[in-house]
Amino acid sequence: MNIDDLKDTWKNDDTSFKYSPLDAALQRKTSSAISKVRNNMKTEFITTLFSYVILFWFLFSKPKAMLFLNVTCITLCALVILNCFYFFKFYMFYRGANKYDQSVKEGIGKIVYELELNTELYKTYNVCITPLTIIVALGIIWDGQATGYIYKLLTNSISAINMSMIILVMLISFIASYFFIGLHVKRSYQKHLDELKSVLKQITGN
């Protein structure tokens, strides 16, 4: 078979084809790698806002000891600043990640770069935020015990065993966060990233 001879038949191969109008396309969820990441980001942003509403509601729904309230507010403030920083970075990625009109090499290269950068940023963000958020959330839920503990921690000298326990708990929570976030990233983003990397490899011929 001569492939060149097929060109005319190839070009006429659309006779029975019908496509849905634009509004139908706009109603569908997209399935490109970037769109999936963008949708995940949007969901995460909404979830974070929602979790803050819950945290603040728990914090101010009933009177709390002043010491506990101050410590929690300072920690929450740090969390909000960290969240604002990372979500601003994510937003910049979200806005800039529409490069479908470049050449295939440039387009895929840019997507792979952005996706990889964003994945790393996401991991760092979660390792910073998750343990702190869990500690604050647990503190708010069990505020009675937490107040006593914070008071003891700030006014008494801490024994070596207690200090070791605190460091160990912190270490475990960071390792657990790192592990689970790694797992989540691998399941949500890594397969797309790997596939796009292989496409980039195919085009660069390496």
């Binding site: 070009k11 496509y19 634009l22 139908a24 396309a25 295939v104 011929g205």
Partner: protein
Amino acid sequence: MQVIEEHKGMLFRVCRIYQDDNADRDDLMQEIILQLWLVFESFKGNSKIGTWIYRVALNTAITYFKKQKRRNDTELLTEMAYNLPDHSLHAEKEEQLALFYAALKHLNKIEKALIFLYMESQPYNEIALNLGISEVNVRVRLTRIKNKLKEIIKNISYEHR
């Protein structure tokens, strides 16, 4: 929409080479139309509208990931059987085209893009620009792909005898 209407044949052929079954093709077509709509304002008229559409369509097809499998393999096989060319009705060329499409499934995503642009009669320099590789590279790769396709077609024809 008028632009899409004018290029619908080309868009259909992109979907056909990148997705195997009809439902996935429809999904990909919707995705391409959506992306064309989303990035239309970035089109500054530096290139021909056709070239721009080729780029958006190919980039979308390459970065598109199927939704979870909705149908089992038996259903897919049944559908493929229905889509096989009817020997009594279709001309020899149509049969060859069906065989050609079957062979394209064995190529990787970039090889598909190259052969697609070649079949669309795009000049080598345009293919090079659209893919972001050199013209020499396009020529070398196309020769290899054509040989590979001939080999695959030979094997498929042999298996179906």
